[in-house]
């Protein structure tokens, strides 16, 4: 009993550290990012006319606020609290953080949604941030001489097709792992893609359907947690 209590306390201490580091750094980055348009104003004296400014902000917010809430909810079980802080500080979640977390857990042979999985995915995602920021810096340094060159090169189709390449590989990975869980979201994904290619707003819907489908299958005993 005494041992149980001490384990629980250590867990809570760890989690409070996660929230403290996460909240301080994410807030600092939000403020620093907000200063970019403020600098355009303060240094160069340029501020857009008030009407289009407010109109633009309202337009983007109407689309971003509900999307962000649903997205954070659907990514929470995938990324865990520390992963959410890392992901929403640096962005590029489904194309970078999610696959890096998955591959990290696979390499260290830990299962998602366990304490071990949470720790490994945090380490893997933070590692991916360091690599990705360094590559971005190199990109910035190399950009001026290379910009006109790469866009017209024979390699261009490769970069254009990076998402099909990524999701083909990830899709196969997950279907091999547990194909029954793919039935509902994949059916929805295909149905939607017949009508539109603007899928960003539908990510939360698809995740929700996947979870509801999984719930049904789990209740019926068609899927198990390995």
């Amino acid at each position: 009993m005494a041992k149980n209590t001490s384990t629980l306390n250590s867990n809570e201490i760890f989690e409070s550290h996660v929230h403290r580091i996460g909240r301080i750094t994410i807030f600092t980055c939000i403020v620093l990012a907000l200063f970019v348009p403020v600098l355009i104003w303060m240094i160069f004296g340029i501020i857009p006319p008030i009407k289009p400014l407010i109109f633009g902000i309202i337009n983007v917010s109407v689309f971003m606020i509900p999307l962000s809430i649903a997205e954070i909810f659907s990514f929470y079980p995938v990324l865990g609290p520390s992963g959410i802080y890392i992901s929403y500080t640096t962005g590029n979640i489904s194309n970078l953080k999610v696959p890096c977390a998955a591959i990290g857990m696979e390499a260290a042979e830990v299962k998602p949604a366990t304490k071990e999985g949470d720790i490994i995915s945090t380490i893997a995602m933070a590692g991916s941030v360091i690599v990705s920021e360094l590559i971005l810096i190199m990109g910035v340094i190399l950009l001026v001489p290379l910009s006109g060159y790469l866009k017209d090169s024979v390699l261009n189709p490769a970069f254009e097709q990076i998402l099909p390449a990524l999701f083909g590989a990830l899709g196969a990975y997950f279907i091999l792992k547990n194909y029954k869980l793919a039935i509902v979201p994949l059916a929805f994904g295909f149905a939607v893609s017949m009508f539109t290619d603007k899928i960003t707003a539908l990510i939360p819907v698809c995740v929700l359907l996947a979870i509801l489908g999984a719930r049904l299958f789990y209740k019926k005993g068609w899927v198990t947690a390995e």
Binding site: C29, N92, A108, A165, G168, L176
Partner: protein, 238 residues
């Protein structure tokens, strides 16, 4: 006309980007240190944590190159430091371009960097992109602890269901993207199929011959192979 690009490419913004980068790096290092300590406490070996770290870093290389390509594409109309900052903090390329477009459209300008795109339109794009991207960060800052409690209740009830919910959420994200290139056909379809086939081959090799190091490279290998097939098939189909 090039006026706004002089502002967009000014050294102030490179400097500001450097400061933001520093905070991001500090966050990454702090989280690795914290998770490492906690991992040791619950009995994870340093070797396994290093495997996870290495895999995450290796898996980041190829997608990061695609972010650099997005940066190159955006730099023509928005300059270099601003897209760099937006792609480093919170943003991702498709969203940032939509937001920049909303900013321009609010000023009655149709294309980024096109006719009528002056310094005021650029400033409007900058405000709209920045504030649009701010919401998710603010929601996380104010409400993540509360979301956590909701999920904690579920976890106490049924840990097996939590494992399924996690896998299902992964499936949901992948399954909304996967059909797009398949329905599009042509090179995107071929690339997707190649990526899937290479991943299956990797999985078979890992299982049959127990090649453990391949786990870290299965995703990059499959992706690079699929991308190479895109170059080849673009030439064949052209």
């Amino acid at each position: 006309m090039d006026d706004y690009l002089d502002i967009a490419n000014s050294s102030y913004f490179y400097l500001w980007g450097g400061i933001i980068l520093l905070v991001i790096m500090v966050q990454a290092v702090l989280f690795i240190r914290l998770a490492w300590k906690e991992g040791k406490r619950i009995g994870l070996t340093g070797k396994r944590m290093l495997q996870g770290l290495r895999a995450g870093m290796v898996a980041a290389v190829i997608p990061s190159i695609s972010i650099v390509i997005a940066l190159i594409a955006m730099s023509g109309s928005l300059g270099i430091p601003f897209p760099w900052i937006r792609l480093s903090v919170i943003g991702s390329a498709p969203y940032e371009l939509i937001a920049a477009g909303i900013g321009a459209a609010s000023m009655g300008v149709k294309s980024l960097g096109g006719e009528g795109y002056n310094q005021y339109v650029f400033a409007n794009s900058a405000w709209v992109m920045t504030i649009g991207a701010m919401w998710s960060g603010l929601i996380v800052f104010f409400f993540l602890k509360k979301i956590k409690k909701q999920y904690a209740k579920i976890e106490k009830k049924d840990p097996n269901w939590m494992k399924i919910i996690t896998l299902a959420a992964f499936f949901g994200v992948v399954c909304i993207f996967l059909p797009q290139p398949i329905v599009a056909g042509g090179v995107p379809l071929i690339t997707t199929v190649t990526g899937a086939v290479l991943m299956i081959i990797c999985a078979l090799l890992i299982k049959k011959f127990e090649i453990k190091w391949l786990r870290e490279f299965a995703l990059p290998f499959s992706m690079v192979g699929a991308m190479a097939s895109a170059v080849i098939f673009t030439r064949i189909l052209a």
